[in-house]
C-alpha cells in the first residue's frame, strides 16, 4: 500500500493567469487557466515569458518601478496587490520566465471555477503546456465535471496521450497544435521532435477526443505551410474543426522576428490555405 493511501495529497501547479470569461479558448464562454512552463521553445512564441520557471536570478527585482518584487529565502516573491501590471519584469527577464506566477492547489483552482461556473460552459487548460501538470489535471477534471461544466485541454501535443490516457477520462477534448509536419522544419521551428504530436493527432481522433487542430501560416513559407496543412487536412477530414491562424509578429522575440518576419501573415494568403484544407476534405477549416 503506498504511503499516500488515505491521505489527501495537496497537489499544486504554477498558474500564469486565469481569464474568467474567454471567447477564444474553445467553444462558448469558458474560463481559461494558463499554466507556466513549456517543454518546447517555438521561435514564433508570442508569450515567451511562459516557457520557463523562474530561476530566481533577481534581475527583475531591480527594474520593478513599484517594488512589487523582492527576494525572500532565495526566491523571487511577487506582491500582486502592489503590482501595476506594467510588465517591466517580463521585459527584463533573459530567461523566458515570469516572476508573476502563483502556485495554486487543486482546491484553489476549483474555488475560482466555482465562482465563475454559473456564467460559463466549461473550462480550458492552457499554457505554457498544460499536460506538464498531468497529475493535477487528473485530480481537477472530475471535480469540474461534477459542476456540470465541460473540460478542454489546449495542448502542443507534447504528452503521449495514448500512454497517458488516464488524463482523457474526464476530458471532453483536446485542442491540438500541429505546427509542422516535416521533421526538419519542426526541429528548427519548435526545437523539439514532433513524432509524438503527429501520433497524438491520429490517436485523439481515433478515440473521439480531438476538439480542434490549429496550424499557423507563416509569411513566405509556401512549402512548409502547404506540407503541414495538406497532412493535417488529410488526416482529420470533416471530423473536427481546423483553425488556420495567421502568424503575428507581436510579442515574438527580436531575434526570431528577424527569422520569421516582422509582419503579420497576409489574410488572403492565409485564406488560400483554408481553401486548400477544404479542397482536401477538411470541411470545418476556418481562418481565425
Amino acid at each position: 500500500m503506498p504511503w499516500t493511501e488515505g491521505y489527501s495529497v495537496m497537489r499544486t501547479a504554477p498558474v500564469n493567469k486565469i481569464i474568467p470569461f474567454s471567447n477564444v479558448d474553445g467553444p462558448s464562454n469558458r474560463m481559461a487557466i494558463f499554466f507556466q512552463e513549456c517543454p518546447f521553445n517555438c521561435r514564433f512564441c508570442h508569450n515567451p515569458e511562459t516557457i520557463n520557471m523562474c530561476n530566481n536570478c533577481g534581475d527583475c527585482i531591480r527594474t520593478c518601478p513599484v517594488n512589487a518584487l523582492s527576494l525572500k529565502e532565495g526566491k523571487v516573491v511577487w506582491d500582486k496587490d502592489v503590482c501595476v501590471g506594467c510588465d517591466t519584469c517580463i521585459k527584463t527577464c533573459t530567461h523566458n520566465a515570469s516572476p508573476k506566477i502563483t502556485m495554486m492547489s487543486v482546491d484553489e483552482v476549483l474555488e475560482q471555477v466555482k465562482r465563475v461556473a454559473p456564467y460559463i460552459a466549461g473550462i480550458t487548460l492552457s499554457g505554457g503546456e498544460c499536460t506538464l501538470r498531468k497529475d493535477f489535471i487528473i485530480e481537477l477534471f472530475p471535480k469540474v465535471k461534477e459542476m456540470g461544466l465541460t473540460t478542454l485541454l489546449d495542448s502542443n501535443g507534447y504528452l503521449d496521450f495514448e500512454k497517458e490516457s488516464e488524463i482523457l477520462e474526464y476530458c471532453d477534448g483536446v485542442m491540438l497544435d500541429v505546427k509542422a509536419y516535416k521533421k526538419d522544419f519542426s526541429d528548427w521551428l519548435i526545437r523539439y521532435p514532433n513524432e509524438v504530436i503527429l501520433k497524438n493527432l491520429h490517436y485523439l481522433l481515433s478515440v473521439g477526443k480531438l476538439e480542434e487542430v490549429r496550424t499557423i501560416i507563416f509569411p513566405d513559407r509556401d512549402k512548409e505551410n502547404t506540407e503541414t496543412v495538406t497532412y493535417v487536412a488529410g488526416v482529420i477530414q470533416d471530423k473536427c474543426r481546423y483553425k488556420i491562424i495567421r502568424y503575428r509578429q507581436f510579442g515574438v522575440r527580436d531575434e526570431h522576428r528577424k527569422e520569421l518576419g516582422d509582419l503579420t501573415t497576409d489574410e488572403d494568403y492565409a485564406l488560400s490555405f483554408v481553401g486548400l484544407a477544404k479542397s482536401l476534405g477538411a470541411s470545418k477549416a476556418m481562418l481565425i
Binding site: 498558474v15 493567469k17 486565469i18 481569464i19 474568467p20 470569461f21 474567454s22 471567447n23 477564444v24 479558448d25 467553444p27 462558448s28 464562454n29 469558458r30 500582486k80 502563483t102 495554486m104 484553489e108 475560482q112 465562482r115 465563475v116 454559473p118 456564467y119 460559463i120 460552459a121
Partner: protein, 506 residues
Amino acid sequence: MSEALNIVKDPTLTYNQELIALAKLGENSDDTIVFSDEYYKAKEAGALCDLGEGKMPYRPRYICPDYDLLFEKGCDFLGLEPPKDLLEAVNALEIFYRHVPSVTTFPVYLGDLDKLLEPFVLKEDRDFAKKVLRLFLLQIDKVLTDSFVHADIGPEDSVTGRLLLELTEEMQLAIPNLTLKYDPEKTSDDFALACVRCMLKSAKPSFANHRMFVKEWGENYAIASCYNGLLKAGGGFTLPRLRLYECSLTAKDVDDFLERELPRYIDLQLEYMDKKVKFCVEEASFFKANFLVTEGFVKQENFTGMFGVVGLAECVNHLLGIEDKKKGFGMNKEATDLGLRIMDVIDKRVSEHVAPYCDATGHRYRLHAQVGIDTDGMDDSPGTRIPIFAEPTMLEQLETNEKFHPYFPTGTGDIFKFEETYEKTPEAILPIIKGSLSRGLRYFSGYLENCDVVRVTGYLVKKSEIEKLKAKKQSLNNVTVFGKGAQEGAHALDRRIQRHEDSTGQ
C-alpha cells in the same frame, strides 16, 4: 433674450423639438402645485431632481396602453375597427401611437409586437410580411422621433420576432428601443442567440429577466422607455430621483446619513410624488376624459409612482472618503456593503409609505434606478452602476449588479461593450446572460465597440447623429442631444470593453 426666444432661434432644434420645448415652458408657468420650503431647498442644492417632468402633470409620465384591447374591440374615439389583416393591424397601431401621451410627448411602450402581430403575419407570405414590418419600423423611426419609444418581444420564439430581429439588424435605426423578455424555460437558445447577434450589431434587444418581472408584476407587465418595468393597461405617474451623491454632502458621517439625512431626502421626494400623483388623478382631465381611460386602454388603478435614485457609487465613495473610484464602490466589499445598507434604508422607508392611488402595487411606490441625464456629468453614475473608468472585470461587475438589481421592480440595468471578436462568437455571450439573470440580474444590454447605434445609458442613439449636432446641424431624434451631453460630460460611450485577455489575479 427670453427663454422662448432662445428656443425659437436655436438652429439645432427641429420644429417638433421647438414645439415640445415651448409647451414645457407654458406648463412651467403655472404654480398650482406647491411644495415645502425644504423641498425647494433640496432641489436647489441638486439633491432632488424632477427629471424635467414639468410643474403640472397633465398626463401620467409613462403610459402603457392595452393594445390587445385595441385589436379586440377597435377604438371608438379614433374610429378604428378591430384589424382583420397585417396592413390593418400596423395601420391601427400607427394611428393609435400618435395619440398616446407621455412626458416626452411620444408613446414609451409600443406593445409586445411579436405577440400582437404574429396572427396577422402568419397569414401572409414571409416576404410581404417583412416588407410591411420594414415600413412599420421606418414609420416609427421617422415619426416617433424619440429613443424612449420602446417595444417588447418574447419570451417565446415567433416568426414575427425573427422578422423584427432581421429588420433591426438590417435597418440600423435607433428607434424603437427593444427588449427581449427572457425566460430560460420559454425562450429557446436558438432565439436567444438570434437576439444576441442582433444586439451586438444594433445595440438591441436588451435581455429582461422575465421570471423576476412576472414575480413582481404578474404576466401583464411591459418594459417601457429605457428599461422601466410597469403594468400594461397602466404605467407610471411620476419619476423623480434622489441624487445620492448630493444627498451625501450634507451628512456628517455614515450614521448621520443613514439615520437622518437620507430619510429626510426620502420623505421630501415622497412629498413631491404624492402631490404630483394626486394632481394627475384629481385635477387633470386625463383620468376623467381621455379616450385611453374612457375606453379602458388604461386603468388608473394600474399606475404606480416610480421612486428614482441615481449616483449610489459616488454617494458611497464620498461617505467613506474614497477618492480613487477604482478602489471604491463595486471594487471593495466595505463600499459595496454600504451601498446595500443605503438601499435597504431606501427600500424600507419607501415601502412603509402609503402612496395615493397606487392600487395595483399595494398602495406603495416602487424603486427605480435612474440612468442619469445629460447634465449629470461624472457626479452621479446611473442608478447603482459602477462608475465608468472604474469598471472591474465583467465578472465582478455582474456580481455587483446581481446584488442591487432586485431592489428595482420599475427598472434598472447595465450595459456591456464587447470587443469585435465577439461578433464571431455570439454563443460566448449567451451563457453570461443566462448565468447572471439566474443570479438576480434584472436587465442586460450590450453592443459591439464599433457599432453606430449605441446604448448611451439606457436609450439608443446613433454616433453619426451626435456628430450632426456637434456640427450644429439638426438631428431628427429628440434624444440625440442627451447622447451628446452624456458622451461629452459623463463619457457614457467610453465604458470598459470586454476583451478576452482580461484576467483576474490568482
